[in-house]
Assembly symmetry: C2
Homo-oligomer: 379 residues x 2
């Protein structure tokens, strides 16, 4: 896995506040790029929801990682069909997503919401495509692997490209991916019995329009105006609120239950105890999580730091003397999940507990990058 180096200095704006790249920015990027991953022996790809925040990031990541492909089909809703898109020096016409869109497609990357996945995912599988789905539609289905490549690649080892058989693979929820990227290397060393997670989630999880609304609201508030509330029902600028996902009868919202249930499935451990409180904070595109861990066997903080430093896809930022720890801004547009504030939990006996603080780019490792890494496992 090729990770971007952490620069450890500020990379303020507009770079870090950039919304998902639009077609124009992709065109600009490809003109500057000498990369060309168009290869006759690569798989044929379809991107479903190509105009969305994650869809656009799929393209960026494919390009950044020189993912080999024979052809690529750009799919979106009827509204976007017919529009032009330039990617890696080649012009594409966005096509309307239909049930027969997947003829001849080896890998279909879906990020257009759960209902689109439910309607078109099975059709793609029937066409022989391997669907990598970023929605929650199939994540908890028993036969669908739920994969973080650094964590549980074996869960999808039975799925082979060009076997003539289609398949579904689910991308976990962003909060789960970011949490488990940090918790799993520790869990492998000393089993995690219980995890208490509080999240600090960015606007990007609710899509490009939510990021735009946060920016608009912030401008309005600074001008003394009433903030526009279209995506969220309340003021987001200079505020925070409990995650907007529906609240279930047990009092948890769906976002929190994803952390609870997906962790069990990914770790293949129905006994792991997880609780989560998911909060949206006025940050653009990277999530932060405060994670309290309880281990079966002792794991001291020095050992934990060493384990995390060696973990793939993880960078440790844990400088106590200069008070330098992970921030959402510092991981924005980066591949690695950053971990810091690694310390023995004073509220647990001996070395049975640790507190850590984790940040990861929600659009990248929390969505598009993880999906492309799943696709790489198929090559």
């Amino acid at each position: 896995m090729r990770a971007h180096a952490f620069t450890h200095h500020h990379n303020p704006l507009p770079g870090n506040m950039t919304f998902a790249p639009n077609s124009a920015s992709i065109r600009r990027r490809s003109n500057l790029s000498v990369r060309m991953a168009l290869k006759e022996d690569g798989p044929s790809i379809a991107v479903v929801g190509v105009t969305g925040a994650v869809g656009q990031e799929f393209l960026s990541v494919l390009s950044d990682r020189d993912f080999p492909y024979r052809s690529i089909r750009m799919l979106a809703s009827k509204r976007s069909a017919g529009k032009q898109l330039t990617f890696e020096d080649k012009d594409y016409v966005i096509e309307e997503l239909k049930h027969d869109s997947f003829n001849g497609i080896d890998i279909a990357l879906f990020s257009a919401g759960g209902s689109i996945s439910k309607e078109f995912g099975p059709a793609a599988v029937d066409s022989g495509s391997i669907v990598i789905d970023n929605s929650s539609a199939f994540r908890m289905e028993e036969k669908v692997p739920l994969v973080i490549p650094e964590v549980n690649p074996d869960a999808m080892s039975h799925i082979k490209l060009r076997s003539g058989k289609g398949a579904l693979i689910a991308n976990p929820n962003c909060s789960t991916i970011i949490c488990l990227m940090a918790a799993t290397p520790l869990h492998r060393h000393s089993k995690v019995l219980r995890m208490v997670v509080s999240t600090y989630q960015a606007a990007s999880g609710a899509g490009a329009a939510a990021m735009e609304e946060l920016e608009l609201q912030t401008r309005e508030v600074l001008e003394g105006k009433q903030p526009t509330c279209n995506i969220f029902k309340q003021q987001y600028a200079f505020n925070l609120f409990s995650h907007n996902a529906p609240v279930l009868s047990n009092g948890y919202n769906e976002e929190e239950m994803k952390l609870v249930k997906e962790t069990r499935k990914i770790w293949n451990d129905n006994n792991v105890k997880v609780t989560a409180t998911c909060i949206r904070v006025p940050v653009m595109r990277a999530h932060a999580e405060s994670v309290n861990l309880q281990f079966e066997k002792p794991l001291d903080e020095d050992m934990a730091r060493d384990i995390l430093k060696k973990a793939a896809g993880v960078v440790v930022i844990d400088d106590r003397s200069s008070n330098h720890f992970p921030t959402p801004l510092e991981v924005s547009n980066k591949d690695d999940v950053a971990v810091g504030r690694i310390r023995r939990d004073l509220s647990q006996d001996g070395n049975h507990g640790l507190d850590i603080f984790v940040c990861g780019d929600q659009i990248r490792k929390g969505a598009a990058l993880n999906a492309i890494q799943i696709a790489e496992l198929l090559l």
Copy 2:
């Protein structure tokens, strides 16, 4: 205790983003007010650090609560000495804080930082004043009561006004006050064994200049400029970071250790286990806290909700069907601490655990209001 009613609708700006009132706003407020708490039989008061965010809020709260006083002395650093200040229709000249500033003062309200408290607090006590100190200077001294009036008023019951003897009373840290306002009513019903806290702290905790910097940075970032970092060493706008308090050798920062140690002292329970992760978020003046509780005996969520609804200084905002829970904006400039997301913790057996989410105005209940309530206990 007279609490402001929660309106439950948006009260956007500039009201909610107002920085600590300056002299001009105090003047305006007093002209509109018919209140006049100047009373011959009231105590004589000194406000130390009257030009700061909390100092200004001391005045607002004294006025809002009709706190009776015979006289009031406005004290600040040499820099502000000589400036005029109008309060409740009366003009005052700000005086330079000196060791002899406390002659004839019954109650001295301090909020000018720990070093000022350390230097001038003992002098005030020697003059026979009862010092209510908002700094951390004396909080952990064994003989100094650390008081939240709704929680442990008895800790200061031996201190009497006009006894001829001065005394020190410490105001707890803002995060501790806000957390314990919600946790204590539950703790009284079923002893809390362990508490895992993650905070979402506002700019106001670092003073009025920090609030101004957050606003300035936000404007700069929206204009594509490099953000000004004077108060904090990193970008705060559209970002969040581990609390700026110094990090100790155990990996906790001082803010976190305040929650750990002050809880033990206020609850008079050296066995209560507390861990905390303190994070600054780009919010103006109210803190939020995600609190995971472990109880000795079962406490179900319905009982917990009932207990909190009846608790003084607490309001329950816990509407699952409309996804309406406490937010920093909704508690800004309010007296009550708001609690919501009250639910059985799925990661603990039976009803031994609860998750809650708490919001409170950092300047008001987290500082000035709590101090004035302590002063009210002396009347």
